[in-house]
Symmetry: D2
Subunit: 437 residues, 4 copies
Amino acid sequence: MKTLSDHVSALVPQMQTWRRDLHQFAESGWLEFRTATLVAEELHRLGYPLKLGREVIDADARMGLPSDAVLAAQEARALEQGALPQWLSHFSGGFCGIVATLETGRPGPVMGFRVDMDALDLNESSAADHLPQREGFASCNAGMMHACGHDGHTTIGLGLARVLMAMKDQLSGTIKLIFQPAEEGVRGAKAMVAAGVVDDVDLFTAIHLGTGVPAGEIVCGSDSFLATTKLDVQFTGVGAHAGGRPEEGRNALLAAAQATLALHNLPQHSGGVARVNVGVLQAGTGRNVVADTALMKVETRGVSNQVNDDIYQQALRVIAGAAAMYGVESEVKLMGGARSCTPSQPWVAFIHQQAEALGLFNSVVDTKQQAAGSEDATYMLERVQQRGGQASYVIFGCELAAGHHNAKFDFDEAIMATAVQTLATLALNQAQFGSQQ
Amino acid sequence: MKTLSDHVSALVPQMQTWRRDLHQFAESGWLEFRTATLVAEELHRLGYPLKLGREVIDADARMGLPSDAVLAAQEARALEQGALPQWLSHFSGGFCGIVATLETGRPGPVMGFRVDMDALDLNESSAADHLPQREGFASCNAGMMHACGHDGHTTIGLGLARVLMAMKDQLSGTIKLIFQPAEEGVRGAKAMVAAGVVDDVDLFTAIHLGTGVPAGEIVCGSDSFLATTKLDVQFTGVGAHAGGRPEEGRNALLAAAQATLALHNLPQHSGGVARVNVGVLQAGTGRNVVADTALMKVETRGVSNQVNDDIYQQALRVIAGAAAMYGVESEVKLMGGARSCTPSQPWVAFIHQQAEALGLFNSVVDTKQQAAGSEDATYMLERVQQRGGQASYVIFGCELAAGHHNAKFDFDEAIMATAVQTLATLALNQAQFGSQQ
Amino acid sequence: MKTLSDHVSALVPQMQTWRRDLHQFAESGWLEFRTATLVAEELHRLGYPLKLGREVIDADARMGLPSDAVLAAQEARALEQGALPQWLSHFSGGFCGIVATLETGRPGPVMGFRVDMDALDLNESSAADHLPQREGFASCNAGMMHACGHDGHTTIGLGLARVLMAMKDQLSGTIKLIFQPAEEGVRGAKAMVAAGVVDDVDLFTAIHLGTGVPAGEIVCGSDSFLATTKLDVQFTGVGAHAGGRPEEGRNALLAAAQATLALHNLPQHSGGVARVNVGVLQAGTGRNVVADTALMKVETRGVSNQVNDDIYQQALRVIAGAAAMYGVESEVKLMGGARSCTPSQPWVAFIHQQAEALGLFNSVVDTKQQAAGSEDATYMLERVQQRGGQASYVIFGCELAAGHHNAKFDFDEAIMATAVQTLATLALNQAQFGSQQ
Amino acid sequence: MKTLSDHVSALVPQMQTWRRDLHQFAESGWLEFRTATLVAEELHRLGYPLKLGREVIDADARMGLPSDAVLAAQEARALEQGALPQWLSHFSGGFCGIVATLETGRPGPVMGFRVDMDALDLNESSAADHLPQREGFASCNAGMMHACGHDGHTTIGLGLARVLMAMKDQLSGTIKLIFQPAEEGVRGAKAMVAAGVVDDVDLFTAIHLGTGVPAGEIVCGSDSFLATTKLDVQFTGVGAHAGGRPEEGRNALLAAAQATLALHNLPQHSGGVARVNVGVLQAGTGRNVVADTALMKVETRGVSNQVNDDIYQQALRVIAGAAAMYGVESEVKLMGGARSCTPSQPWVAFIHQQAEALGLFNSVVDTKQQAAGSEDATYMLERVQQRGGQASYVIFGCELAAGHHNAKFDFDEAIMATAVQTLATLALNQAQFGSQQ
């Protein structure tokens, strides 16, 4: 009988093909039309029943959605690039999510694995020493690049799907494979949670590759995510000739300047790390006109949900107050969000034990002190834990050509097989977890 | 028969005595207890029926009143310094206003003359070259000094009362002599207007000496007053240990800092001169405590009531908005106010003509470009004009030892006789005005 | 012999043709390539000796110049639209100025007339009821529209040139016709003054049509211009990940917010009207990045050069201080400027007298209270007056379809003939001025 | 032979007497004149050689010193209250520090123990239920109260001195007892370090009682101190009449408002907790005057010296920049400072072991998560560690009547004996530490 290792080895060339295709046709958040149809087709072909689009994504809980015009144009672009028409209607309008379910027919818990599919809004390097360029699979979509490894994640998800189906007879319980859109900007996970996709999951695992973890190391329960809220603030005032009738204006730019200073006054909190950033401010139309519009792109962060929520609530107060000061209107639009997380210790310990037993890693650790970033799989961990399940976030260390979000980002593709083997092992040995508890 | 000139000449020594006594016992706004009792006694002795205290001052319309404790202590101080007990009860609690009325019994309009009685919150110079010091009548009250000439104004009012009573038979109509408290800080006139003291006045004249007008000149209709509003703003937040629990604080100091910057953003107005000043800011109790209190002393000004009101309304908006930004409470207390004014041209012209005919001045002008100050007799001018009367503000130029509000301020006492003679002339010749119109 | 009136009447159809052509091919400031070549050709054809481009424009004194790329692209565009190659090289690179000189050979002063040629950065209305649209001469250049009447001014300059040449024998002294680029944003006049074009002018007249002056009225010496300075401020800091390494950033956006509030605190000045506006603020590149750049488009204004200079000097101090607060660099670029002005009373009186005598106007006034705008012909008035000459700014009232700077702006073309006749009259009767003085 | 326990038991009544005397004559920082003379007398009487005043306090390194007038008045007050004239001259002028040294004559390390002597600027509660009031030893000095337990600390120092001298024959090495002034406001320790008092110390221990640690518990190596810098910032501008000549002013209040907002923008740092507080702002003299002065009381804090120094350096930049924005002068005066600290693990472990062996505590812990405060003994720990020594900060839990810095603060005096016994044990068993290492 073929071992897991045999199955994974056989998959390596296919995984490279998948990954490079996804990399070449990189699609930014909520626009993963081609990607999603290919993923759906493969999962369907393997025999997985699927839930698609609006079945797994709550429309109203989506954050930071592109405009209708962009959605339509990108869907057309995807079609031209080989998106499969038979699946596309499910995803149309910004619903590129897929959940594949494997019912083993044997009793056991529901395991969930989550991967993300979106690229970054970035132009890929055209330098000759950039491997995707050299090998001919650099992104052909301007302003879209897989510079965070989600092409690898999606491939790992597909590889895992193939291996698990092949070894179905050795599994018990239920397995859900979750393919999420729009992780960049932490925009997509919340809508999948709202649609209930993890409501029945008992053992949940989300993954990432790289992120500064060295090759050969696995982090079994990463907990260094900051809770965050992303918001766009629009101030709308009244224009006026600044020389002739200044008192007739209601100055949105001044309101934004006041709000900016006050927002940056917020992050002192005994609960731990707190952050605010007004990263972008665009205001006014002409030098001699009292500015009637101002847009601020803002984010809050906190070491815990509590801290982030505190800061966010104060931010709303600041924004409303600043608008009132200058008699302008303010509108706050939620553009993204993520939670802090505390992986479930028993599940982390099980992953740790299994990873050590696998012999693929020269370092197995539970956590790692990392620079403060955010990740929206945390919404899924939170929901699973709220409902009594176990959840963790696993990082597979690997060698990177350049840091994440860099135009020359690239990763060692070997990590994909390692990841598939590790995750499949969790599924195959899952019964041991129950007995340990 | 004694001429007006004879009467005035005879009064000169008495006026010096009065003025120096008032100067020595200088009393700040709303605290003119001794002054008011002496004025009442003199007017009563002359035979004027009087309206006193609450009869001529609307309690609720008073602005910038000292605390009850200060009022009580100063009333006691006044008693010790010779305030007349028989009159004091009328003025107790901050009601030091007097209106004396002379009914001639002959038909004619009601003429009103207004003088003010209060000193400034200032320590008088103890320099040997300061005449009041040298001559022994410098203020004996710490932090109170007649550095604006109101001692002279009160004396002119008394002198005018004596002369008019002496020449009663040559007068017609009614004459009201109005002695006002608390002009400094523009706090008192509004309350006299609210009590109706000028509601029946047909021909109104308020006066000032000095103010940069050279000796020998009279300004018959000064119009360079800015409308103004004085406000105290109290922000009340929540204290907290700034190192240990910063997020538990609600920072009143930061609210005040934001409000201050926004208030100073207001004065650009096509209607003309607009001003805002946060002159005083006192906030916080300790270096390591989130400040829970902040007090701002603010004023707005405008070339017109409209401009001042615009700025003031925007200031209220700014204050409320800044408080909202930081989740603190704000309270605005009206501390003073004055109006812009446009003297009535016919009455100005009559004063001009009479002043020229008198031969006491080497320059008679209608208006004079002056630095932008404020004066609350403007409330009286406004009310008189609203009801169809004529009103003006007259300035008697005179030599000053130092500028107004200076610790070495002093004026040439000769101007008092000139002023009495001029004002009495207006009363004596008033019938000519009616015939000219 | 043909009278002036005859000459002007004959010109009317030509002036409409010129104006509509200029209107259709509207060219924004410093980009008047086609316009300038057509003006040069016409003046040359009439026999005027010309000074062109760098001869009349000091390169270093130009303000608010577009980028080299824009200059080159627009020059190419102009060529395609019929700019005359034989003249274009003079204007290449942003030097679209022309001075035509008529030496009469008879003794007399040097008279200067100045018109401006540039359009606004505005899209013209495509509404059916907009006459230029209906008649087919709306601007064919996107973002460029003659919405201030400079097409009319240029036409008046050409008409005047033709009439004066035709009546040359009746003229004495010297006449200079000055065609200026880039009046919008008050960018061009200073460079012509720096090149010395008005250094020999004894009697100077600049003109405008409309500006709220009613049809039938002429303002002979408009003095309601505010001195102004236009500046672009660039703050350059250091970017950093706002969540991960905030302390490594140097925040240009915060520096700009502080500078904005402080700049708007400046305009309280006893010298009269003062203004500051930060009309545009563009800062930052991403929500989660400490902003490393911020651009502010700022203007200061003052009722006098003194007031504007005071405010401007304080603005420089504010900008440098704000940069220092946040450890960022600041760069200030002068983008435009204009002076306050006081037309020379004798010359205004002469224009007044001539205008009345003409019988073309039902109202002839010296000045008119107007909303506070700016105009850079003031640099020319100032220089002429500094050197002992007489100068004025004349406004020809006319009916407008919509206000200046409005997408539906249009003016009654009849005013062009009136203006030519008036200006030519000043030239023809100039000798009377000398004799009056 | 009397045991340590016997010695301590015998001392209990004396310690209560000392503590209550010190409590009654509470003296604030740099003003511990009476306290210091009594301490010196007792130590001298016991036979300790002493270093006093300028020998142990570097004049220039003192921070937050009261004015000369206050120093002189308080020295006179101390004399009246029983300060011993024979010692007073050493402490005159703000030098109330004492170091007593016990040379055992036997080889061994130098051990240092530090206690502080100053009271807080606080009025003690006069409530009947406040024990010091009821028992008649509440502070007789207005605005000075031992509300932090330093009276207990001084008493422990004296008790320790007496016990160690009594058991001198069982000790080896050298023991230094350090009595420090002005710990409140973190002002005094730096000056003792600068005078070299811990330069020869090998094993250093500072102590505190209470601070939220429950009775029965000892914290052997408290590490939750934030590094901090206290600064007073004075802005000096130019006054002007806000209505009449606003442009002649240089507004110190506006500079302070801008600086305040920018200072509160600083504390986002990846190095950990960072804090800024502008706790007090006092600006301006009158409502209608451009404010020419502003005083800010500021503190920065950081989880590490590095973080605090970063914030402090940025604060200096902010202050200078804000002054430059408004053309005012700024002066920064250092008012206090403390360091973060990491107790030496071996020494903490030894204290832990000894404390457990003593049997006096029901809980012995190394550290305790506490709200972020500051303590200037950290300067001593830092210096000792820099020179290769071991250092720790020990907290003796005890019951409090009310929290520290509260007007009803009081502590259970029994803790003093416990502390003396514990510290003496460290000295007596010190040889075991060397052998463990």
